[in-house]
Amino acid sequence: MNAASERVAITGNQALAHAVRLARTEVIAAYPITPQTSVVEEIAGFCADGLMNARFIQTESEHSSMSACIGASMTGARAFTATSSQGLALMHEMLHWATGARTPVVLGEVNRSLAAPWTILTDQSDSMAQRDTGWMQFYAGSNQEVFDSTLLAFKVAEQALLPAMVVLDAFVLSHCVEGVELPPQPLIDEFLPRREAEISLDPDDPHAFGGMMFPDSFMEQRYKIQRAMETAGGMIVEHAAAWHELTGRELKPLHEYRVEDAEIVALCLGTAYGSFCAAVDELRGRGVRAGAVRMWQYRPFPARPLREIIPAGAPLAVVDRAVSFGHGGPVAGEAKAALDGHAPVCGFVAGLGGREILPETAAGIFHALLENTAEPDRINWVEVRE
């Protein structure tokens, strides 16, 4: 902890808002949706109280929010929006546009299931459905990590010229009060100075963004986005090290718990990790060498760190809180490809629509691996009534 930091009791949504304030974000465009609403309420309050020197735009839809952020970002401004579920789905078209136009917009995404039927509770189907839009995605495991990830997201986004999503579980983090350390403004300014855009919209020096591209150049533009994603992986490590130096806190692609000598491992994203760690302790108490991994960085996909962490030959349960219908869990499929020839992977789907992933749920998944009842070639549904 930095000596001048202030430790406050705030929700995950407030942690996002404070990060946006301390990042000296210049434009916030948003539309309210449960459970994201209090993010932008808080930011609107900061703007109204003069704590932020920013333009706050309440738009008529999420599609417009993202459009406004892209426009602001093209002028060189630091831009932010937040949403959930249906709101993110409505942004879909403009998420692609943000990437294609290489605008480093940062988005706070409070994971909520998609309708129909209506629900407001958490799973990761909304953000997973955007995995091919070219946005970086960071899944937070605590309110502190929501705060830290947001500042890192701005830093990497502006250097890589890629947009970034900070993802947090609905209610479990968004409405949960925890202690969060807020570093002093000068420390944040040192880590994240004012954005210096190389190219920006300027009436005195007119340029167009997003003009037509034909087959002679379009594919190269796409190639550059992929190259930027690959380069971003190294930037994340570099800036996370700087953040660690300043605050003493770690941000890393994968967090691991008792994995080194593990004979079975489970991997998840978000707050379910705590339940897996509890199950690991319980199993180790009975002589089973279990381990758990939490994926914080989902895009760019951390294939190499994953191969380095998972012990060779140790069966891995990948627990998705989303389904790619007709295929399986999105993370499971990608982990399977990354670990081909290294470790066997079984895909599990759990915790949809806010169903809790309890330590017992996690223990059940480990037992399915141990007792060889999990099937590698289909979705293993967890605690589902037939």
Partner: protein, 200 residues
């Protein structure tokens, strides 16, 4: 200030508290205030409401974890060491006492005689404290908002935090949104409940 009637129930960290109230009674606010007090005292805390759509008058739950070490578990509290009931009519519902640990504390907003009827159905191993929080809230605030009274009672019966620290924090927290009179009335309710809570 008179001495509190009952015995103190010592709590050791980590503490897991489950709050039961009805929508509008302030259970979520009480849980949030307790988390803020915990953070101010240098503890690791979590407070969160039961997830769902709230309706005024419907049973609701909130959860608080307090620990000396970082808290990694985010699931709802199934086996609480402390159950706090803001509305005694909720004792008749199965979820209210579900999972209360042996030796755990049940703190109920009730008049002592009102509570006698419920006592027979309680688990033997739990310790019980009552506080007439509705009466206190009506007298101090003019409405049955019992969150600050129940916080006072929790402090009175457990000594989880120092009353002076709690008082100072509640004062600062309420002053952000309420008038001086409302803040003063809540502080009175907090202190009166702290004295009036009775264990057995």
């Amino acid at each position: 200030m008179s001495e509190r009637a009952g015995e103190r129930v010592e709590l050791t960290l980590p503490v897991e508290i489950r709050w039961h109230g009805r929508g509008g009674q302030g259970a979520v606010t009480a849980a949030k205030l307790l988390a803020e007090i915990g953070v101010a005292a240098g503890r690791h805390v979590q407070s969160f409401p039961q997830f769902g759509s709230e309706r005024r008058g419907a049973p609701i739950q909130a959860f608080t974890r307090i620990d000396a070490r970082p808290i990694t578990l985010y699931s709802s509290i199934r086996e609480p060491g402390v159950v706090i009931v803001l509305d005694a009519s909720l004792l008749a519902l199965p979820p209210t006492l579900a999972g209360l640990r042996d030796g755990g504390l049940l703190l109920v907003n009730a008049e002592p005689d009102e509570f006698e009827q419920a006592r027979a159905s309680l688990p033997d191993a739990c310790r019980v404290a009552t506080v007439p929080a509705t009466r206190i809230a009506l007298a101090q605030l003019g409405r049955p908002m019992t969150n600050t009274a129940m916080l006072g009672a929790l402090v009175g019966v457990t000594g989880l935090f120092e009353l002076a620290d709690v008082r100072r924090h509640v004062e600062a927290a309420l002053a952000r949104e309420h008038s001086e009179q409302v803040v003063a009335a809540n502080l009175n309710a907090l202190e009166e409940a702290c004295r009036a809570v009775s264990g057995n």
